[in-house]
């Protein structure tokens, strides 16, 4: 039986990698995928703690997080497609029309 703190360390590493992806990459879609990686790391931590406490509340929460992530991806990708139609690029360094 693997101790539970292994299942807490792994999401910590995955979350940091997701945050790193948001900071480093300039492609808007890759940034979006890094956000999904962060959400997955949080889900894994939830399920690990649900297993630890023997209840199902953590898994219910993961269910909701998945639904929210799906809704967010649908709207976010529609936004990205719309941005691409006007700017013809998804490089975030070029999305500076609101710069003061």
């Amino acid at each position: 039986m693997v101790p539970i703190y292994y299942y807490v360390a792994l999401p910590a590493v995955l979350f940091t990698l997701g945050a790193l992806g948001v900071l480093i990459r300039r492609n808007a879609i890759i940034i979006f995928m890094s956000v999904e990686l962060m959400l997955n790391a949080a889900n894994l931590a939830f399920v690990a703690f649900a297993r630890l406490h023997g209840g199902l509340s953590g898994q219910i929460f993961v269910f909701f997080v998945m639904a929210v992530a799906a809704a967010e991806v649908a709207v976010g990708l529609a936004l990205i497609v719309k941005i691409f139609e006007t700017k013809h690029s998804i490089d975030i360094d070029q999305l500076n029309m609101m710069k003061g």
Binding site: Y5, L10, V47
Partner: protein, 169 residues
């Protein structure tokens, strides 16, 4: 070194390497494929943590729907090749070193406080099967369930509205 630990370490390595592959891949489609691999690995972790419903929901929703949507948009926009040189030369090394420090700190804290985590008990019977999840979902968490349904409706309306064609006047 039990079999459980070997399986966990192997799967954890695959998960971390596929996440790194997603981050540092030059081609956006390769990144999406690496992320699908990562999601499948996380689904296997859910199975190890006796959450079979969540594991299959992960495969269906994340790897099967969300990533397919990503692939469609990547191919629609032709966003495979992107320039990767940042405008300021010090940004990428700084971010990498800070992320490395954060990972080392998190692992240090977790592994030095490992005795404060209670021991894992054996799983009770059918933990995590759809019947139990359904019972909880429609009794204790009914309000959140209805709110999620409303959220999905809003997302569908939003996506349709954002992708309509403007009529040329």
């Amino acid at each position: 070194m039990s079999v459980d630990l070997v399986v966990f370490i192997g799967l954890a390595l695959v998960a971390i390497l596929s996440a790194l592959g997603m981050l540092f891949s030059r081609n956006a489609i390769y990144s999406a494929l690496y992320l699908i691999f990562n999601f499948s690995t996380v689904a296997v972790f859910y199975l190890l943590l006796t959450a079979p419903f969540i594991a299959l929901a992960q495969i269906t929703v994340y790897a099967g729907a969300i990533m397919v949507l990503f692939l469609f948009v990547i191919m629609l926009l032709g966003a495979e090749q992107t320039g990767r040189t940042p405008p300021t030369w010090w940004m990428q090394p700084l971010a990498l070193s800070l992320a490395g420090i954060l990972i080392l700190e998190a692992l240090y804290i977790i592994f030095t406080h490992r005795t404060s985590f209670p021991a894992l008990r054996a799983a009770v019977g059918d933990l995590g099967n759809p019947l139990q999840i359904g019972e909880l979902l429609f009794s204790n968490y009914l309000l959140a369930f209805e709110a999620i349904a409303l959220l999905l409706l809003v997302a569908v309306i939003g996506a349709i509205f954002l992708s309509r064609h403007q009529r040329v006047r």
